[in-house]
């Protein structure tokens, strides 16, 4: 089947990436970050935006969690659970996919 990988399971090893139909953008008019998706506009909060900006198919979730834990001096386990849950929710909605392994 062509197209994205459905029903991905997010873990710390995942390297998530926004698919072409989920666009993270700073809305100048309303001065907020928005995630544009088919027929909807989501308004992620500050930390969610920070995570989404790292969803570039290069960073893995482990690196995102390390970054947030250091920045907010928060307990790593809790951050990890929250980030994975948030990304899994977006993936279930079809707004997040995984970088495909390079085939050589």
């Amino acid at each position: 089947m062509a197209g994205r990988i459905r029903n991905i399971t997010v873990s710390e090893a995942s390297r998530p990436i926004l698919p072409r139909h989920a666009k993270l953008k700073f809305d100048q008019t309303r001065q907020v970050w928005v995630l544009l998706a088919p027929e909807r506009v989501l308004a992620p909060d500050e930390i969610a935006v920070e995570v989404l900006r790292l969803c570039d198919g290069v960073h893995n979730v482990e690196q995102m969690v390390d970054h947030l834990a250091a920045k907010y001096t928060a307990e790593r386990g809790a951050i990890s659970a929250d980030v994975v849950a948030m990304l899994q929710d977006l993936a279930d909605k079809g707004f997040l996919t995984e970088a495909r392994e390079k085939t050589s």
Partner: protein, 402 residues
Amino acid sequence: MSPTEANTNIAGVDPSDGLAVLEQRGSVAETFGIPLAVLAELTHRCPLQCPYCSNPVELERGGNELTTEEWKNVLTELAEIGVLQIHFSGGEPTARKDLVELVQHASDVGLYSNLITSAVLLTREKLSALADAGLCHVQISFQGNEPVLADRVAGFKGAHQKKIEVARWTRELDLPLTVNAVMHRQNLFQLPDIIQMALDMDADRLEVANVQYYGWALRNRAALMPSVAQIEETSRIVEQAQARLKGTLEIDYVVPDYYALRPKKCMGGWGRQFFNISPAGKILPCHAAESITGLEFLSVRSNHSIAWIWQNSDAFNRYRGTGWMPEPCKSCEFREVDFGGCRCQAFALTGDAGNTDPACTLSPMHEQIFKLAEQEAAGGSNRFLYRNFAGGTLEMDGDNGA
């Protein structure tokens, strides 16, 4: 402050109501702020003749359509004032030869673009060019799950097969796909098969949209109105499928408001979070608004900006908010929940757009309308009046009507 809260925030509000999401976050996108998404009806020309078409009965001729340059200017202006998404619709938007150019321009000015199409005019090359131009999402309408009924409803031979083919190309090009299924008495029995069809097509979303009865659909009400029992069965099927397919296929459901207790929050409230642009450039509070006589809708060809028309024109302010409301709306506790329902329906059924929508049980006309719907559902002819520029053509016996 935790990402989980962010997640709850994202999921906690009706996600189709982007404005509510932003309002909840206390952003500056307040009531009457510029809409997040705008519907551009590029043309009323369409090869299909669906008897429930949402276009007005008085269709706009091709010669009055905005030019390519005019549409591009509109797109630029929309992006500048804070619109985030553009829905290219019609009629059939692919009947415009400049669609790829318009989608490219939308991308260039930063608009997220959706194509709402019947699909029958598309080639794989055209769809591929649209994807390359930055198209973000494709919505294809279906009239049934098999060609006999579907082609009869569309009034177009071969339509169904073509739609299936285009749906496949859409997914092959890695574009997200929404299947839009308009439901009525004559095709509701196919709903389980339509859900399966959407799954087989690898669609992301399915809109199960019961016909809303104004314009062409009102003329065809006797042929389309479902029974109460059909609607109850439909709701049951949709709810089950929503639970079963969570995470695989998202299903949006629009109930027919004749059988509801409260009217729908039409367009999220008149002039509150939505406008569309007609083929000739009129800025409208909803796609049926031109059916209301006595309102003057200004065009992008006037000497006013789009933002000015949205904020200041009489047509938008006439039924905005709650100040215009008569009783029983005026003192109703739901007045800011449904904003009095649908103005076009109030006009079509009562002759006055300022009346309470008869879909509401509190309307003095509700009982009468409900009874009429029941009678039509039980005894109406199945014969369609097909939509066209000639004011409609009655289905012939040979078309496999009745």
